[in-house]
Structures are given as structure tokens and as C-alpha cells.
Symmetry: C2
Subunit: 300 residues, 2 copies
């Protein structure tokens, strides 16, 4: 099974290095320069003190023709539009597409994609990009995948091979529930840690921050009409504790002057609130604060 | 007219130096050491590149007997309790007391004070304490004073002398309106600048921050039942622009690891919201965030 991976960020590089153990992988990069560097160097995967090198073929994204049996789309939600445009203009419809974006706002974009089978996934691995061809695997976590539209067979075969190479993928029945679980944790942890400039664990060890966490969580449950808000809240607390020493991706994005995924996370919730004519006071204000900080950092 | 000033922070030192031009001033300090240092050095007032020295008598607060005709209480709201306790235990009731605290939560504490005349004031001068006996006067602003209880004559005489020494005091008819105007500006500018870590002006130049300003302001108008919210909002914007290059006192307090005045400002609004059974989502969350940051900085 040939695999295409679009996007050479931390998740794209992580998938490319692991999957190259079992599949012929082509990694599609934003620029030709990036592709050339990866073709020359391979991909270096750092895990603790160990470093392994993987040979992966890289091509610029303009060369992607959707011919691989499975293409994994590992770009940020806000970079998705141009990919979708490219899919629509392909000569042949791609067979299997797996989308790994955070948040929920990409779902409405996937409805009209001309592909046989579409899957969505949520990645809980901790990874950070060290340079163009090097990724640091900071923490092992789950990869959950669910069918969004079409048939599930090919992804089952894919998941079986992934298990054999110790890169396990768990198939889930309900893509909405799977993504909403990740969204809830992201919507609480990411904006607050980015605003407070603290590690994930401080959200629960500082009693005042924890009070702000609870207020935000209540707004989220109200908008999402959660069936079992207490169980879900325990899941958020579990993630805060487990990743207590980590800086969230949104905090790191702001610190590095990068664009955050706030639109895919709180932006989605604000849209949902609007549809249901509910108010989302904290969510809206935190959204504005993050957007303002993005503007502040990127502008300066 | 003998003047007592309680509190040798930036405002206490500023008042002591100016008023010593026309009145015999006794400055009451928290500790005997502070008093000894001020008695030895005098008070240095820095204005731009100029520095002037003023001889002021200083005594520790335990020596205050309320015998001056006017005592100005220039401590933070959260330091007020011990002063009020001392007033209640004085041999003679003091004649004229002027309270300069920010916010509104001190008003309910003033109701039962055994003094002939009680005044409240709001200070818009910019001042920062350089060391125990030196204050930097960063920006001239208004001092507004209004009667809280009793007769107004003595403060009128006082204000006339202050005008003559170019330390103008404006008498206001309505203490509630006077303090609420200051509170509104403080409640918008202080928490947001402290959370965002920006100068006052950025609240209006960054369009996303400005959206957060407006949401917070709407909650405040709702709780305070403002008659003319648009006029009041223009006042807030005017202050943001006028003090655009300043870092707010709350931002500076957090940066220095000091306690902030959040209880007197947002704490008061949360109490008001509770009395009126109104929700104050943003106000509550910002309150928790500032309290959490206080804990974070002071603890570390």
C-alpha cells in the first residue's frame, strides 16, 4: 500500500518516519526546497537520547496527484483550503484520505470532497519539529481514526500493519464523538495555558486557574449539549495531569510567533453557539484575546 | 491646618511632599524603620529631570492618634481593615478623614466610622515609589474629592490652599458617581492590560483586544445599570489614549510580585452582580485569572 503524507510539520514528519518502516511513503512538502532537503538528508527521528534516520521520498505538494492508496493530510486546519482546492482539480479522484486536523471546523469542508473513502483522525502523540528534516518524539500517545464517509476496509488493513510496526492506530465507530472529545480538551487547555503562559498542570494545581477552567468548561458543555459532562471533565483533568509538564501547542505557537489553531477550536464553538442562539461570553473573550496575541506577536 | 497622611506608598509620598509646601504634615508609616529613614532623608520628589527635597515629619502608624484636623488615608483597599480598627479604638474621634482607595468596596467599611466628616477621593496622578523616601511623579492628573458623610466646610478650605500650591483638588457633589467613573475605567483597563501584558493604548489599537474590551464593558454597564453607557465608554477610551504608553498599576503589581487591587475592582462588581442576581461571566473569569497570577508570582 503506497502512502502519501501531505505536510512536513511535526506530525507529518513523525508519520513519515514511522510509516516508512512498512510502506513506500511519499512526503509532500510546501516548497521544492523543503523536499530537496528531505531527499538529501532523510528524516531524523529523535526519541529520548536515540536518533534514527529514515529514507523517505519527498516532493513538493504541487506534484501530488492523489495516486497513493492512502493519503494522510497532516497540515493545520487553516492550511486546508488550498489542499481541498487541489483535490477538486485532480484528474482522478483519490481513493482514501485521512484528515488529522485539530478541532471540528474542518468537518464541514470535507462533505463535498470527491474521494471514495474519507477518514478523520486525532493524534495524541507529543512531537515537535526540530528542523526541516528532524522531528522529536516527546511523548507516545494514541492515534484514533474513524470513518467519515465511505467504506472502512482499507483503513483496517492499514491499522493492522501499523500495529505490527508499533505505531498503533485505534479505529473508532463514531467520528463525531472521537473529535469532540479531543476538541473539549483542546478548548479548555490550549487557550487558557496560552493566555496564562503556564504549563498544562498549573491549570489544576492553581486553585484560581482551576476556577477559570471550570467556568470555561461549563460554557463548552452548554454549547455541545454533552450527555455526561462530569465524565468528560474527568477526561480533561486526566490530560492536564498526564501532560502536566508540557507547554500546550497554542502556547508554543504564540511564543514562536506562529498562527494558532484557535479558529478550529474556539472558533468552531462560537459558530455552534451562534447556530443554537446561545451565549458564549468566556469563549468569545478568550478567542479575541488569542487572536489579539497572534496579531501582536506576528506583527512585531 | 495640621495634616496627617497614613501610608507611605507612591500616593502617600506624593501628597506628603506637595502638601508640606503649605501645611504641617505628619506621615504615618507601616514600620518605625520607614519613619526613621524618612525623618533622616526627607522626601525626594522627582519630576522629569528635576528633584526636590521636602522635610516631613514621619511616625509609625501606631503613633497616630487622629489629632490632625485632616487625615488622608492613602493605603491600599486591602490594608484598610487595620486602620479602621485603629480609628475605632482612638481616645477621641477624628475630625476629617479623606479616603483615597481605588474601587468601591471600601465604601461599606466607612459607614460605621466614628469621625465627624468623611470624604472620599480619586487620584489620577501617575506616581511610582522609587525607594522608601523617593517618589517619581510621572504624570499630572486630577484629584477629585467628594463628601461621603458630614459637613463639607473644612475640605473647601483645604482645597483652596491646595489650588494655591498648584496641587489642585476638585470637589464633586456626588461621591458615588465620582468613584464609579474611576471604577469603570479601572475595571476595564487594569485586568485586561495585566492579563495581556500590554500598555494601556494597545487595548484600542489591537482590534481583537478592543473586541474583548467591549465585551467586558458591556458586562460592567449591565451590573452598574449605567444611565449613559456610551458617554462612559468614551471616557474609558479617552483614558486609554491619554495613558497609552503607560503600564497599568495592576500590570506593574503583578510584574513586581505584589498584591493587586482586583478585589476592590472586579471583586466589587462580582458582589454587585450577586446582589442583583446577574451573571458576570467575563468579570468572574478575569478575576480568577488575576488572583491566580497573584498566587503564581507571589508564591514563586
Amino acid at each position: 500500500m503506497k502512502i502519501g503524507i501531505i505536510g512536513a510539520g511535526s506530525i507529518g514528519l513523525l508519520f513519515a518516519s514511522y510509516l516508512s518502516k512498512a510502506f513506500p511513503v511519499t512526503l509532500y512538502t510546501k516548497t521544492s526546497e523543503q523536499a530537496a532537503i528531505i531527499n538529501q538528508n532523510g528524516i531524523y527521528l529523535q526519541e529520548g537520547n536515540a536518533q534514527s534516520r529514515f529514507s523517505v521520498r519527498a516532493l513538493p505538494i504541487s506534484k501530488w496527484a492523489g495516486i497513493e492508496e492512502l493519503t494522510i493530510i497532516a497540515v493545520k486546519q487553516y492550511q486546508l483550503h488550498s489542499i481541498l482546492h487541489q483535490i477538486a482539480s485532480l484528474e482522478f479522484n483519490p481513493q482514501n484520505l485521512l484528515f488529522l486536523q485539530n478541532g471540528m471546523s474542518h468537518l464541514k469542508l470535507l462533505k463535498n470532497i470527491p474521494a471514495a473513502n474519507i477518514f478523520v483522525g486525532s493524534v495524541e502523540h507529543g512531537a515537535s519539529k526540530v528542523n526541516t528534516y528532524t522531528v522529536s518524539h516527546n511523548g507516545k500517545g494514541a492515534i484514533n481514526v474513524a470513518l467519515f464517509r465511505g467504506a472502512v476496509e482499507r483503513i483496517k488493513e492499514f491499522a493492522e500493519v501499523c500495529a505490527a510496526i508499533h505505531f498503533p492506530i485505534t479505529l473508532k465507530d463514531d467520528y463525531y464523538r472521537m473529535l469532540i472529545n479531543k476538541l473539549i480538551a483542546n478548548a479548555v487547555i490550549n487557550p487558557l495555558t496560552a493566555i496564562l503562559q503556564v504549563k498544562n498542570g498549573e491549570l489544576i494545581t492553581n486553585t484560581f486557574y482551576f476556577a477559570a477552567v471550570k467556568k470555561l468548561y461549563l460554557e463548552i458543555t452548554f454549547i455541545l449539549n454533552l450527555e455526561d459532562p462530569i465524565k468528560q471533565f474527568r477526561n480533561v483533568l486526566r490530560i492536564c495531569k498526564k501532560t502536566g509538564n508540557n507547554r500546550s501547542s497554542m502556547l508554543k505557537d504564540l511564543e514562536a510567533g506562529r498562527r494558532t489553531e484557535i479558529d478550529a477550536i474556539l472558533g468552531f464553538l462560537i459558530e455552534e453557539a451562534g447556530i443554537q442562539q446561545k451565549t458564549a461570553s468566556n469563549i468569545e473573550s478568550y478567542y479575541y484575546i488569542i487572536k489579539g496575541k497572534e496579531k501582536d506577536r506576528r506583527g512585531s
